[in-house]
Symmetry: C2
Subunit: 249 residues, 2 copies
DNA sequence: TAGTGGTCTAGACCACGGT
DNA sequence: CCGTGGTCTAGACCACTAG
C-alpha cells in the first residue's frame, strides 16, 4: 500500500529512543522525584496520549512497564495509582526491616562509602572486567529493636555514580538512594545462602556467642544500569528476626 | 461512528473468555503436554493470527503473558522459543539440584504422600479456613553426589488433586508433577529463612554432627489454582551446597 | 529477500467507578 | 452519565535472522 498515512516520519528510523520509553522515563522520574507521590494517580491514559501526541497502545506499553516493575497498580475505572515499590520485589529482607519501617530500626556505618580495590571476600564471582577498575565499598550494622541483626558488606563498581562517597542515604536505604538520586532501579538478583558458625568478629558485632549459627547470604544485585552490579555479603542473626523473601509473577 | 466494522459480534459481550486468554491457554497446554518441547519454537505470531482468526496485538498479548511467566523467550527475527521455566522463578533451589540436573541427584521418600490432619510444625501461618479440611503430606530426603543435603516436609490442602497419593513424581519434582499432571503452576512464594543448630533427627538424616548449623527455610508457595497453597519446611546442610535464589523482572 | 518479532497509528466497543 | 482502564481490529513500517 501507500506509505502509511504518516506513522512516524523518518525522525525515528534507526536507533532512537522509543516513544513508550520516553513516556516511561518521564513517569518514572515523576514518581522518583516526588511529582507523583504514593497513592496519587498518574494522568489518565487519554491525557498521556494528548500530552505526548501518541496513541493509547503506546501509552499503555509504558504503563505496562511501570506495572511490571512495581511502580504503579492499575484500578479499572479509576486510574493508575503509584504504590510502594518494594512489595513486588523478590528481595531478601530482614523481617521487620523495611516492612515494620521506621520504628526501632537503626543503621550504623562501620565503614562509610570509600573507593578502594576489589576484595577477595566476595564469594559470588565478580566479572573479571569489573575487577580492573576500583570499587566503592561500605559496611553497615543493622539493628531492630536496638538489637544488632545483620552485618552487611557491599561492593559496587566505582563508575558513573556521581559523588557517591559523599551521598547521604535516603531513609538509611541504599536502594532508595540509588533510585531517587541516580534513577537506578534494582531489577534482579542472584544469591547463595548458607548456615555457618559465627566468626569471632561477627559474634561480637551481632552480640551472640561465637559459634552460634548465623545466616550467610551472598548476593549480586542487577540494576537498570547495565554494568552496575552490587555485591553484598550479609551475616544475619536470625534467632529473633528471620530473613524473609517473597516473589510474585 | 457506526458500530465498528465488526470487531466482535456480541458473541463476547459480557463474561466470556478473552481471546488472548484462549491462545495463552492453548499454548501453555501445548508446552506442558509436550506438544512444544523445550528449545522448540512456537508458531509465529502471524500463524497464530490465522489459526485463531485474531490480530497480532491479541496474539502478542498472549505471548507476553507466557513470557512474563517464564514459559518462553523471544528471539527477534527468529521466533518465540520454549524455555525451561524454573530459571525465571525466584524459587529457592539447592545449588546443583535442578540446575546440575540428573547427574548425582537423588531423592528418597521418608513418607510418601498420605492424607492426614494439618501439623503444628509449620512455622508460617496456615489460613484457618484451610485447616478445617485435611491435607496431603510427604517428606523427602534429597541427595547431591550421594550426600544428603536437604530434608524436606510438605503440606498441601487435599482438595482438587485427583488421586494425588498415588501419583508418581515427574523427574522427582513435585512442581513438574503439578504442572504436567494437573496443569497447575507456582506463581509466587513467601519464605522465612533461619540459621539453626541441627536437631538430633536432622543431624542423623543429613549425616552431620548434632549442633552443626543448618539452614531452616519455611515457605508457602502460591499456585495458579486459587486455593492451593503449598507449605514446606526445609532443613539444609549448606556446607558443600549452598541454597540459591534468583529473580529477574 | 522472505519471514519473524518490535513499535506504532487510528479508532472501536466493553466493563467498572463515581456523580 | 461520563471518564477510566481493558480488549480488540486492521494495517503500517522498522530491525533482526537466515537462506
Amino acid at each position: 500500500m501507500k506509505s502509511g498515512h504518516h506513522y512516524l516520519p523518518n525522525v525515528y528510523p534507526n536507533m532512537s529512543e522509543k516513544r513508550y520509553r520516553k513516556v516511561y522515563n518521564a513517569l518514572k522520574s515523576g514518581i522518583q522525584l516526588g511529582t507523583y507521590t504514593v497513592d496519587a494517580y498518574l494522568p489518565s491514559e487519554n491525557e498521556l496520549c494528548d500530552t505526548y501526541g501518541i496513541t493509547r497502545t503506546t501509552v499503555r506499553r509504558a504503563l505496562d512497564e511501570l506495572l511490571k516493575e512495581g511502580f504503579i497498580q492499575k484500578e479499572h475505572g479509576k486510574g493508575s495509582k503509584v504504590v510502594e515499590r518494594r512489595k513486588s520485589l523478590g528481595l531478601l529482607s530482614v523481617k521487620g526491616f523495611s516492612e515494620a519501617v521506621g520504628e526501632s530500626v537503626k543503621t550504623l556505618f562501620l565503614q562509610r562509602p570509600i573507593e578502594k580495590n576489589w576484595d577477595n571476600e566476595i564469594t559470588i564471582e565478580v566479572e573479571p572486567e569489573l575487577k580492573k577498575g576500583s570499587c566503592y565499598y561500605f559496611e553497615r550494622l543493622r539493628f531492630v529493636d536496638e538489637k544488632p541483626v545483620m552485618h552487611e558488606k557491599n561492593w559496587l563498581p566505582s563508575t558513573g555514580l556521581e559523588d557517591f562517597t559523599n551521598t547521604f542515604f535516603v531513609e538509611d536505604s541504599f536502594f532508595k538512594t540509588l533510585s531517587s538520586r541516580y534513577l537506578i532501579e534494582v531489577v534482579g538478583s542472584t544469591s547463595e545462602i548458607r548456615a555457618e558458625f559465627a566468626s569471632k568478629n561477627d559474634a561480637e558485632l551481632l552480640n551472640i556467642e561465637q559459634g552460634f549459627p548465623i545466616l550467610h547470604i551472598s548476593i549480586v544485585f542487577f540494576t537498570s544500569k547495565p554494568k552496575l552490579k552490587i555485591y553484598s555479603e550479609l551475616y544475619c542473626n536470625t534467632r529473633e528476626f528471620p530473613v524473609g523473601n517473597s516473589f510474585h509473577l
